[in-house]
């Protein structure tokens, strides 16, 4: 049976810049950075130190498996900001929001209360947007009395 999610792909425009963004700004760690032969594919993965079993592979569109036209379309979608790359969780959304913002991460939304937790939105340096969420303790809250 399926045991879990190990690797998920994020399409980036430049692997050097992405590596810097995901480590220096987001605080993730590099798991693998290797190039397969001269001019070959560069396999670059990052992950959270708190979650060794999951990593993101930062891939540039292209390669033998993708025709140039598709690669160009994918690059364009990323750049336009049309693609979301996932949800990253935190146990201190307000502190981490400030920390990331101070490092120059481009936020689309400040932390806001949602039924599922407190959520901010940011983009990576390529244009992918991430939800940055501190999940609500006790799970989804649809019953809370919001009356002032």
């Amino acid at each position: 049976m399926i045991k879990g999610l190990a690797i998920s792909t994020v399409w980036v425009l430049d692997q050097d810049r992405a590596k810097e963004f995901y480590t220096q700004k987001l605080g993730l760690e590099v798991r693998t950075d290797m190039t397969m032969g001269e001019g070959g594919m560069r396999w670059l993965t990052v992950g959270s130190p708190n979650q060794p079993e999951v990593e993101l592979t930062l891939m540039v569109p292209g390669g033998p498996a993708m025709d140039p036209e598709s690669a160009e379309m994918l690059r364009k979608l990323v750049t336009k900001g049309a693609l979301g790359a996932g949800v990253l969780t935190t146990d201190d959304i307000h502190g981490d929001y400030k920390k990331l913002k101070d490092r120059g991460v481009e936020f689309l939304q400040e932390p806001q209360e949602r039924p599922y937790g407190t959520e901010a939105l940011f983009r990576d340096d390529s244009g992918n947007w991430f939800s940055f969420t501190q999940p609500r303790e006790g799970g989804l809250d649809m019953d809370q009395d919001w009356t002032c």
């Binding site: 750049t79 336009k80 979301g84």
Partner: protein
Amino acid sequence: MDKTRQIRLAKDAMDRDWADPGLDLDTVAAHAGYSRYHFIRAFKEAYGETPGQYLTHRRIERAEDLLRTANLSVTEICHLVGFSSVGTFSARFKTWTGLTPSEYRTKHVGRGAALIPGCYAMLWAGGFRSAPGAGKQNPSGEAQQRNSGEAG
């Protein structure tokens, strides 16, 4: 900088600051580093509508939500979503939805109390502003919330 990225930065500014009545074309175009004229053309090429249409679209969508769910007056909603004139708001709203804000509310709101208290909707939509044009406030985004729902 890549041209598409520049245009996206301007779109992001509209998604962030849509509730700010002071958000005009020059401000938005400046985020892209473009002149007004080139910006309008480039934005439309990238996103299929002009920046003005995009911003109006976003604001009307949020107004629809508030009209359906919050016990706020049409005037309050008009200012909350970033319009400074009720006349303009009503006209644009009718262009998009085919109904005036009041007609829309009558058609879509159920009997009895509003589904969400106005105070909550106001905070959710960006906080209480002292006056229209008082400055940029908390960004929010119902569209962004929708997006995050899809990802989550």
